[in-house]
Amino acid sequence: MVDIAIVDYGMGNLRSVYQAVRKVAPDANVVVSGEADVIKTAGRVVFPGQGAAPDCMREIRERGLDQTIVEAAAGGKPFLGICMGLQVLFEHSAEGDTPCLGILKGEVVRFAHGLKDAQGNKLKVPHMGWNGVHHADHPLWEGIAQDARFYYVHSYYVQPHDQGIVQGSSDYPQPFVCAVSRGNLFAVQFHPEKSAAAGLKLLENFVNWNPV
């Protein structure tokens, strides 16, 4: 019996996610797998991702995992999307004009060119580094300070249609959505597996989460 399945669809390195999940759930059976059967029967699913949206969606579809992911996200067991694993849950990404999984209503858009901070300094894209997260009240934020910093690296961000699913935001320089939830699903733009103590706490909350 697999307790936690980390979905592998060939996009980049999942070792960091695996290591961090193992750290917070040392007794759990954690596997990195691209097999639909494993993902379907696992107790919890982590859906990471890096790289570009067109490549991610192509790999997901070529491996026949799109339906498996849609079902896992809708199915009631705890599901955690990370980075590209947040973005492709939405309907469409401006990155390569890519149709995505459409589990959540909304679009993925790029940070504008020529962004400046309050002092007039250029804001670089990708948005890379540690930014504070203003979070809502949700079991996955338990024990995490308001405005705690998490590690980001991305050039696109999600714009959900339903503001009711928003669980967190960061500023660059305008607020953007960095966390959403719906029932058993929780997904974040930052990398909890690379966000030191705050990130490990969020992962720990996820492995102990029992959504109702």
Binding site: R15, Q19, K23, K122, K124, P126, W130, Y151, E193
Partner: protein, 252 residues
């Protein structure tokens, strides 16, 4: 808002962290895994390992080090040194690196940057540029650990690397490196103003004010230093507090 990053850098050879003075006389600074853990505890935002091993026989050592660090330290890890092909990038990522830094090979074969970014994403491809001033406001790119001139203009080269898919530039001033007189702020400013991707300033840090200047005067998105941290002169936390006192956004 996004914090400016402080990145301790470890030069690794034969399984040890070393620090050279003007590229000679390597001084032992300790065990890389222990040092990495210490910097993580001090609040380092990322860690960079440069494999300066000359012999290819010793290459495997860096993989074991990265594997061990990645099991214990949950912040981004960058590894550079001797990356020549896409397979090298893959092997380092598989060992636990989050980003791979490419220097000489980017000049020898710029397509490597495009191929690696295309395969693994720009977020994990750092292009390292060693630059030396050749005229007022003009810097040339050097390779092979600073021994070989390329004739390439540093700012133009950085722009080309951005176009090919680099996610970040690690910019080292060869004039300042090891001098402990601070970054080459004009070089840093010229490159960061020209680019849309983040720039890490490197080379020349001798005190905490140098780190702050790299951000406020040089416009760097991150600052890298080695010896001021290795030999216990300052902790990463002290560096952050110093920067915060000057109004720089840091992760405390």
């Amino acid at each position: 808002m996004l914090a400016k990053r402080i990145i301790p850098c470890m030069d690794v050879t034969a399984g040890r962290v070393v620090k050279g003075v003007s590229f000679v006389e390597l001084r032992d600074a300790g065990d890389p895994v222990e040092i990495a853990r210490r910097y993580d505890e001090q609040g380092a935002d990322e860690l960079t390992f440069l494999d300066i091993t000359a012999s290819s026989d010793d290459r495997d050592i860096i993989f074991h080090i990265i594997e061990k660090v990645a099991e214990q330290v949950f912040i981004p890890l960058t590894v550079g040194g001797g990356v020549r092909q896409v397979e090298d990038v893959r092997n380092l990522l598989n060992a636990g690196a989050d980003k791979v830094s490419i220097n000489t090979s980017a000049v020898v074969n710029p397509q490597l940057v495009a191929d690696a970014a295309g395969r693994y994403g720009s977020q994990c491809i750092v292009v390292a540029i060693d630059a030396k001033q050749v005229a007022p406001n003009k810097w040339e790119v050097f390779t092979h650990g600073g021994r070989k001139a390329t004739g390439l203009d540093a700012v133009e080269w950085a722009l080309k690397m951005q176009t090919l898919g680099a996610g970040e530039i690690l910019l080292t001033s060869m004039d300042q490196d090891g001098q402990k007189k601070g970054f080459d702020l004009a070089l840093t400013r010229a490159v960061t103003d020209a680019l849309e991707i983040p720039v890490i300033a490197s080379g020349g840090v001798g005190n905490l004010q140098h780190l702050a200047d790299g951000v406020t005067k040089g416009g760097a998105d991150a600052v890298l230093a080695a010896s001021i941290f290795h030999f216990g002169e300052y902790t990463v936390q002290q560096a952050k507090q110093h920067m915060a006192q000057q109004g720089i956004e840091v992760r405390l």
